[in-house]
């Protein structure tokens, strides 16, 4: 890849990070954070985007960032006090900046009209209507220090030169003007790291230079102040150059020296000070450490610089050896490489399982060095796998922060006041999961604003804060990541949900449903509560699609809702899509895997009591509670209903609504880590089956999704079953 293209690509990655910290900072300010460093960080984010964008000539981006930055600069310098509206405007500006970055990255057109409006709004904050400096002007001021004191009278000299040219006989000399420059160093030049010798060398790049040092002002050694050089240099330059070019050479010394530049003809090259020769006992100019080879003569063939100039090192010193390199905090790695590693670790897990299996087949499992070694191997495999997974894991923070914008826009569109509270942003999930979570989460957040929260007026009528709150939180819970979207709105209007479902024929009109069942109607295909299609809903994406997306990630979604107090949607996700801890079970001689995370408890049937209810439904009676029973063999069509073997085992599974279900299997073989091999690419969605795996004996086993099985195959009253029927 072209190095610039590579840097550009990494610039856009950096932009995303900067936009995140920009938004984070603004949200902190919005939340009452008054730490000046927060505003500084906000400013720096915009500033860095501008800086990088300028390097790539992304003018739209530079222009906007500059305006935004100018206002933020006023804020951080305490010249501009901001209120809640201003912070909102900053957030809006951050959104526009984000759009501009995306447009620059994807090379798509920008919404100029919108940005112009935002810029205009930003400038109303500025005293006097804002800064009118364009950044492009700034760029022209490159290498620009304070204006220097110049004593020259250019027009007069210029006319003199014109007059002299005709009288010069030497043609070459006539075409090469001679400049005399009186260069007086002042206090502070040395401290600034500027070295007169180097300035003269740089001057010599324009043409041959003669330098004569005037030491007349040099005090005696007793009173000499080393920081003040007290030297004047009379420099003669023969070069067809401009005064500007000469001034540019002394650019960095501006304010630390005085310059008098005059232009003469070549035969007047001897300055007035020519009789004052440089003295050999001059105090040395301050030395720089490890100077590279100076070579005035290479660039200035005609006249050498002053004879006694220090540091005329004949040979270049060896390049400064690089000692211990600074510790790099991060390494950027192609995702592809990590995926390859993840796959290899997966194979390692399978290989280790196969070794265990063949060892146990030969009865070598107890107390042998081989088995001890294998145990260690197993532990190491697991450690490697955890480490590899940690590489793929990313905090949900960027994803969550994207939701702030969704909330802002949705609140604007629905004329609601909404505050988004993010919690547990540091929680890490597999990168792929995060990427595939963006769409469902966006939809759910929009729904929470659109359907969950009431209008400010309604909220006030219910004695609620007119500003609604949505909590978006991530937590680790028993080997899974749970993401909750909680609003403090009106809660699900179950009466309305039921009547809509009935009117659409999704449930029989005489059906009696529990609250949880009614809530779950929201996930049915074709269900939409929006009586009129608002700007946010009616986009053809329903909660059924959300649910499907979550399921395809090995996740589950559930709802808790309290009328008048709001609703909480919980998404439970596996930490990784690559491996899982599973229980290897057998059903009618078929080996299958049930994710360990979904199993609450296991029991042999002897401990449990099976009872058959009226409609032939079987339940397990345990600890005074009746738990619905599901025979896996029956579900998969391996045997007739109600013929459960005596020594069967029951796995208690927690269904989506939190209610336990009993899954009947024939035998439990072992608990083991299995590598997930997706089936979706080849077979699409298979009800009740999450994926497949390769076991230690090389056989393929299905990994079940018991919650999905229960939802689909449970009692005929469940909404999912109804959807299948309807």
């Amino acid at each position: 890849m072209d190095p610039m293209a590579e840097i550009k690509a990494s610039f856009f990655v950096e932009c995303s990070e900067l936009l995140e910290s920009l938004e984070e900072g603004l949200l902190q300010v919005q939340g009452g954070d008054t730490d000046p460093e927060t505003v500084n960080a906000v400013f720096r984010a915009v500033h860095s985007i501008k800086g990088g964008a300028g390097a790539f000539g992304l003018d739209d981006l530079v222009h906007f960032a500059h305006r935004f930055e100018t206002v933020l600069d006023e804020v951080r310098s305490d010249r501009l006090a901001i209120d809640a509206d201003a912070v909102l405007l900053f957030l809006k500006s951050a959104d526009s900046l984000s759009d501009l970055v995306a447009a620059a990255r994807d090379e798509t057109p920008v919404d100029e009209a919108k940005n112009t409006v935002v810029i205009a709004e930003l400038e109303t904050l500025m005293p006097g209507g804002g800064d009118t400096n364009e950044t492009s002007n700034d760029a022209d001021q490159e290498l620009n220090f304070a204006p220097m004191t110049l004593s020259l009278d250019l027009p007069a000299i210029g006319s003199q030169v014109d007059a002299d040219i005709g009288e010069v006989t030497d043609e070459a000399a006539a075409t090469t003007p001679v400049w005399t420059i009186r260069f007086t160093t002042e206090k502070g030049l040395n401290q600034s790291g500027n070295e007169p010798l180097f300035l003269m060398r740089a001057l010599a790049e324009l043409g041959p230079v003669t330098a004569i040092c005037d030491t007349a002002d040099l005090p005696s050694l007793k009173v000499l102040d080393p920081s003040q050089t007290n030297l004047h240099w009379d420099l003669t330059l023969s070069a067809d150059t401009s005064q500007t070019d000469i001034e540019e050479v002394f650019e960095f010394a501006q304010g630390l020296c005085t310059l008098a530049i005059t232009k003469n003809t070549s035969d007047q090259s001897t300055p007035d000070t020519a009789d004052i020769e440089a003295l050999p006992d001059l105090p040395d100019l301050p030395a720089l450490p490890d100077l590279p080879a100076p070579s005035v003569d290479d660039q200035a063939p005609a006249q050498p610089a002053t004879e006694n100039t220090p540091h005329e090192a004949p040979k270049p010193p060896a390049p400064t050896p690089t000692k211990a390199a600074p510790v790099a905090a991060t390494v950027r790695v192609d995702l592809e490489r990590i995926d390859r590693l993840v796959n290899l670790v997966g194979e390692l897990v399978i290989n280790q399982a196969m070794l265990s299996q063949s060892l146990s087949a030969q009865n070598l499992t107890s107390n042998t060095t081989i088995s001890t070694g294998l145990d260690e191997f197993q532990q190491l495999t697991r450690d490697i796998q955890d480490s590899v997974m940690a590489i793929r894991a990313q905090p949900v923070k960027p994803l969550f922060q994207r939701m702030s914008r969704i909330v802002r826009e949705a609140a604007h569109d629905t004329h609601k006041k909404v505050r988004l509270v993010l919690e547990g942003e540091a929680t890490e999930i597999d990168k792929t999961v995060i990427e595939r979570l963006a769409d469902p989460l966006t939809h759910m957040i929009r729904n929470a604003v659109d359907h969950g929260l009431e209008t400010p007026e309604k909220r006030e009528q219910s004695d609620k804060d007119p500003e609604g709150t949505i909590h978006l939180r991530a937590t680790h819970r028993s080997g899974r990541v749970v993401i909750e979207i909680q609003d403090n709105g009106a809660g699900i209007n179950r009466e309305r949900v039921l009547s809509i479902a009935q009117s659409k024929g999704l449930v029989p009109t005489d059906a009696v449903l529990s609250d949880a069942e009614i809530d779950n109607l929201l996930f049915m295909p074709g269900f939409s509560t929006a009586t009129e299609i608002s700007n946010l809903s009616g986009r053809g994406v329903g909660m059924d699609v959300v649910k499907r997306a979550i399921q395809s990630l090995g996740g589950r979604i559930s709802i808790q809702s309290t009328p008048g107090h709001g609703s909480t949607f919980s998404i439970s996700l596996p930490l990784t899509l690559a491996v899982l801890d599973g229980m290897v079970i057998e059903v009618s001689e078929q080996t299958m895997v049930v994710p360990l995370s979904s199993i609450v408890e296991t029991l042999t049937l002897a401990d449990a009591e099976i009872q058959t209810l009226d409609q032939g439904t079987q339940v397990v009676h345990i600890r005074g509670k009746f738990v619905p029973l599901l025979d896996l063999a029956v579900e998969f069509g391996y045997r007739a209903p109600n013929v459960i073997p005596e020594d069967a085992v029951v796995l208690f599974i927690s269904a989506e609504d939190g209610e336990p279900y009993a899954l009947v299997v024939d035998t439990i073989h072992e608990q083991r880590q299995v590598v997930i091999k997706g089936l979706a690419d080849s077979y699409g969605y298979v009800p009740g089956v999450a994926a497949a795996t390769i076991l230690g004996d090389g056989k393929i086993a299905l990994i079940l999704d018991p919650v999905d099985l229960i939802a689909r195959a449970g009692s005929p009253d469940t909404p999912t079953a109804l959807s299948m029927a309807g």
């Binding site: 500033h47 290498l143 740089a202 720089l288 600074p326």
Partner: protein, 120 residues
């Protein structure tokens, strides 16, 4: 020549490194002033390029800290920043900066300025 480049923007660090590498100049980078001082303690650069607006320790403070060290009292320090306001330049000068380059920078000018201030 070996140069220490301090900038909180990864993009600018990459661009400076590229410009220097193409000119045959080796460089090391740091993310802010604090990091810059750490890196400086492990190398002996011939010149330093620094940004101004940085977290933890800004460019002004960084330059002052560098100048406090005997070994670096005379080291050329170029300020590389988007700020072109006069008072910013004066502040940089007061802190001990040698010169000033405004972003977006022309790689040739950056290298030229470096060669000039180091005499290389």
């Amino acid at each position: 020549m070996n140069v220490l480049a301090v900038d909180d923007s990864r993009t600018i660090r990459n661009m400076v490194t590229l410009a220097l590498t193409q000119a045959g100049i080796t460089s090391q980078v740091a993310e802010d002033g604090v990091h810059g001082l750490e890196v400086l303690s492990q190398m002996a650069p011939d010149a330093i390029i620094t940004d101004i607006n940085m977290p933890r320790m800004d460019g002004f403070e960084f330059i002052q800290e560098v100048r406090k060290q005997d070994a670096y009292q005379g080291i050329p320090i170029l300020v590389l920043t988007t700020e072109s306001a006069q008072d910013m330049k004066l502040r940089a000068r007061q802190a001990g900066a040698t010169g000033w380059i405004v972003k977006p920078f022309d790689p040739a000018k950056l290298v030229g300025a470096l060669r000039m201030v180091t005499g290389g």
